[in-house]
Symmetry: C2
Subunit: 356 residues, 2 copies
């Protein structure tokens, strides 16, 4: 599986006249090698593939990164690369400019004076944005767990519970259902806190009449789901009832419009212009969505400023929201696959306004 991906990177290296590529971003290391540890570099040249990690991962790296030469260091990984002269014969080595820290770059330059380190952006990410069937299968499994837990949690939520209680329950049920972990800290944002797009669960108690935004996901074989629904508890205000259908229609319009070949910013505009036309434009600050895979946020970007184009095999989220300070907010998010020219909705949790 990783063999095709590595071949793809090597093709890009040839096109860019690079002798090797240094991968430092952990999700990219996992994508190319299968290694899941927390400290590693990966070096791909046209002929060699090397994983550098520390002694905690001696056994694990051998089990996971099949076909890779493993270098285990007891100290700095960059120093280990120098001791093994891993770049000494390579003139031009690409690196991940958006994630390699300045200090590591400085060390590399010092330790390999004969090598030119060339900053690159999204080299692996662009490849990983197009999902293979096995990746879509893992994402589908993660989504089906989150969908099921959403249904279950509707029976659990009641006024008086802390947001944290609801978050703990969601997290627990996802794992019992087979998830490896949460995709990110579960967001449970109730009442005025629902106006915070990233309102992680707190000790605040849920009260009658509030909106509650639930935004959570899980991972299966490293691949993520990402689901948002906003529900009402008791009797939500008239204002809340007005906002909900606007967000829902914006979301469904975007789903209807998504297709391969479309500039991602145009998809963002489908939802944004609709929300604007209903007078809520200034209350939708974040982007419409993002790619989803081994990372919760990956390519393509689906925002007003995105320069990406949607293509076959992309998995993206579509998640417009309206947030009115102090009053509350509504966000509805599905995960979709761009396929056969249009888009397949992978999420199946209900989207009508549920009041419990």
């Amino acid at each position: 599986m990783t063999r095709t991906r590595i071949a793809h990177v090597r093709k890009v290296l040839e096109d860019l006249d690079l002798d090797a590529f240094l991968v430092s971003h952990l999700p990219n290391i996992r994508y190319l090698s299968g290694f899941t540890g927390s400290n590693a570099f990966l070096i791909l040249s046209l002929r060699r593939q090397i994983l550098v990690t520390d002694s905690r991962y001696r056994e694990q790296s051998r089990n996971e990164a099949r076909g890779f030469q493993i270098v285990v260091s007891d100290n700095s990984l960059v120093d280990a690369m120098a001791r093994k002269s891993l770049f000494s014969r390579r003139r031009r080595v690409g690196f991940e400019a958006h994630c390699l820290p300045y200090a590591s770059y400085g060390n590399l330059k010092k330790l390999f004076p004969g090598t030119k380190f060339v900053p690159k952006f999204n080299l692996v990410e662009s490849i990983a944005a197009v999902k293979e069937a096995s990746e879509v299968a893992a994402i589908r499994e993660a989504i089906s767990i989150s969908d099921r837990v959403f249904q279950e949690i509707l029976d659990f939520i009641k006024p008086g519970l802390r947001e944290l209680d609801v978050a703990a329950e969601i997290s627990y049920r996802q794992r019992k259902a087979g998830a490896e972990r949460d995709a990110f800290d579960v967001i449970v944002a109730s009442g005025w806190r629902s106006a915070l797009p990233h309102g992680k669960a707190t000790a605040k108690r849920i009260r009658p009449g509030e909106l509650v935004t639930l935004d959570f996901g899980c991972s299966v074989r490293g691949y993520h789901s990402d689901l948002t629904r906003t529900i009402g508890v008791g009797s939500p205000s008239r204002r809340a009832r007005e906002v909900y259908p606007v967000v829902l229609e914006a979301q469904e319009r975007a789903i209807g419009a998504a297709r391969s070949g479309m500039p991602a910013r145009n998809l963002d505009e489908v939802a944004r212009s609709f929300i604007r036309s209903r007078g809520f434009g200034k209350f939708f600050g974040h982007s419409l969505g993002h790619g989803l895979g081994l990372q919760v946020h990956e390519l393509p970007k689906v925002s007003a400023l995105s320069t990406d184009t949607l293509c076959e095999g992309n998995v993206i989220t579509i998640e417009p929201g309206i947030y009115i300070p102090r009053l509350g907010g509504v966000r509805i998010e599905d995960d979709v696959l761009i396929k056969n020219g249009s888009c397949v909705v992978l999420t199946s949790a209900p989207k009508e306004f549920i009041v419990i």
Copy 2:
């Protein structure tokens, strides 16, 4: 609370002849401002304190980062800094070389040609390594939750359970007990997997006769606990029974030796030399411990190569281990506070070899 910390940083800026410091590491941003979002820069000059974040955090940043000027950007944070000319009058600006990505550094240099960006290491981390009373209180709360959950989980674990079931239960119980979240993915490593120092829970089932290493923690007000115990299930092998007391004695010797003014590498050597003297030296690969606070791994480093010195107010883990490939491993970890010249053990979970 953050005022004292900021004053401390400003003192260092004066000593280093820096006009400002750019903080990009999120735990450091939280330490200095209280802001808990996932995307921000913080700029401290001798007179100003500015938090730059994106529109998702407009409300939250105002609530959390009291006393800070807030700059909200709809796009790149570095571009926002340029539009606001945040560095234009500052000649020498320090930055966090170990974490600022190469690309951000490049952008800053381009956008602020008149400014010299000076790489610095551990400027904030060195201050944060010495805990205030309120920080120790939060760590103690987190530890007491983990201690309690360890006791509870002993009744839950039985042969036939998947490691993931145990991990889900630990995570759930920590949150129900008041934790905000897990400190890291719960490690449940059973049988041969206990020989992996970082064996995150998998679908493997726990079987009679195995060792099971549990390594977990949680966070309270952002501060972490970190607890490891290894237990036996059924009738562990004679070898396992031999290894356990060696690890335990190494750990207790280190606890007995820890005191302020001691080079941290000497503390590592106390445990390491004992394990070596018992013939297990090559099976203890990782470092003895690490600082613990807003980050799970922070200063001081407690390793054979550490150049840090233990001092009053440090909170560190002491966690020697012996890992015998294929056979299994034992690790015992407590969190301790360096105080009044010696060390106070904060953890209270039992350390005798428990077989269930």
